[in-house]
Subunit: 301 residues, 2 copies
């Protein structure tokens, strides 16, 4: 599981900072999460393969989270993309994207599917044989969802020495990896745990931006391995959170602690702060395993 931060700063793109976008690589799938202006250039600069992105998850329709979508959709068309592209986001995202394509008279040669979200309850929005994606309803100035990405458990690992010892034929291997016990020709039943090892524990990643401090998300993200939580402000500017509906670093850490997260990654920093290390220091007083996002940073998780 790799997380590449393409942009993690609030409000507007600047010379040296980019608005929100990140790529999660999980089980050989590449998910794009949010798509602020300039995301396609950030993908290029970070040498991520455009063509591997088949699913884009947009949290909300503020410009710093989705103004780069139309450019990416158009570039996919110019590059003669063939694979289907699925876009998940708030209602309205389809209308605005299709209007822009219509005005430029440049429809896509690939299938473009929109999955518009309106529910205020957590729901599964994507599922295949390896990964499930669930919404995390957030509270912000407009309708907003975070997304929880969860790996499905792998097959159990075959204990080669054990299966050879019992002379089990290879045609049974998949059954064993799926967890079954095996009955030998002599009638003995070998319990699965003697024939297999535990697979790696499934990983999970939660993206929560933008939002006020909201304990209601804790049950949804409980025991998540990695939590990305917005921290637009430090506690010294906590008075701005109510009006702007953002969170502080300390509040992000409080959520991570309550959710028993393995690691907290902070992002969505207001550009008013010269030194983002202050965010880490503030959060670490509540939740020690805290790291800072930064544009171009790759987390090997």
């Amino acid at each position: 599981m790799n997380l590449t931060i393409l942009g993690c700063y609030a409000a507007t793109p600047r010379s040296l900072t980019n608005p929100t976008a990140q790529v999660l690589e999980m089980k050989n799938r590449m998910f794009l999460i949010d798509c602020g202006e300039g995301t396609q250039v950030q993908l290029r600069k970070n040498k991520l393969r455009f063509s591997k992105i088949n699913h884009i998850f947009i949290s909300h329709l503020h410009g710093d989270h989705f103004y780069g979508l139309i450019g990416l959709v158009s570039t996919f068309a110019l590059l003669n993309r063939q694979n289907d592209l699925h876009v998940y986001g708030p209602k309205g995202i389809k209308e605005v994207t299709l209007l822009q394509l219509k005005l430029s008279n440049s429809y896509t040669g690939y299938n473009l599917y929109f999955h518009e979200l309106e529910s205020k309850e957590s729901q599964v929005v994507f599922e295949d044989d390896k990964v499930v994606v669930t919404t995390i309803p957030l509270i912000h100035r407009v309708y907003t969802n975070g997304y929880l990405f969860t790996e499905k458990p792998d097959d159990r690992k075959l204990n080669i020495e054990a299966v050879q010892k019992y002379k089990i034929e290879t045609c049974y291997y998949q059954k064993i990896k799926s967890g079954s016990d095996i009955t030998l020709d002599d009638g003995r039943t070998i319990p699965n745990k003697e024939l297999t090892f535990d697979p790696p524990a499934p990983k999970s990643y939660a993206f929560c931006s933008d939002t006020v401090y909201n304990e209601a998300i804790v049950p949804i993200i409980n025991n998540v391995d990695v939590l990305y939580h917005e921290s637009t402000f430090l506690e010294s500017e906590a008075h701005l959170c109510e009006r702007t509906m953002h969170a502080t670093a300390r509040q992000a850490a409080a959520i991570a602690k309550q959710a028993n997260a393995g690691k907290l990654i902070l992002g969505h920093f207001s550009t008013r702060y010269g030194n983002i290390e202050l965010f880490k220091e503030e959060a670490a007083t509540v939740f020690e395993n805290t790291e800072l996002a930064d544009d171009g940073k790759v987390f090997k998780l």
Copy 2:
């Protein structure tokens, strides 16, 4: 008159090249021409003052010429802009911009005026006491206009020695600068040319992108001081012009020559070419005073 190229490459933004946008400074006004994705960052990188832009001219609604508009409009709002902003461009630009603002629930605190264009004839779209802007109908895959920016003539320059010699009172100076002769108290009439010098010749700048080779624009831009003309291709790829409705460097030079332009600036280069000097070499065989646009380049004209 200064021209700053923010971006001059065709199709999609890339790591090192930007789509079309440029700033023309004329008579202390700052006009933004086209606004591809990332224009607001290019404005910052080139240290141009956002707040001085009151008029934005969009040639056509292909993404590489206007996907940066909504981001700039939004950023103006976040920066608490107060001045009116005028946007000139093809019909549809208002609907798509307002839809994006509506979806993000972030209307502008300043007045935002759209001047939507539909005419296929050249027309005046902006005029104040110093500058006139006229459309240049172009031929491309969608409805497209270039723009001709023309300075109005300055007042004539007062010949201080002459007016003092005739003891002309200062209250007549503005009348003299406007071109009038003066009758002295003794009945003598002094012709204006004895009391003034010629002002600097008014300058003009024509922006022509995107377009096929189109001689119909020559009368509109006749004798222009500086012509920016697209040259997406070299002659070696001239066969692509018909389908894509673009021009070659040699064709751009042919237009400059017929229009008796003072200088030709080439831009909108396809990124298939490693060396843009080839464009200059090709054009110079037809029109010698040719220069190349490049991102970040400033022409002091």
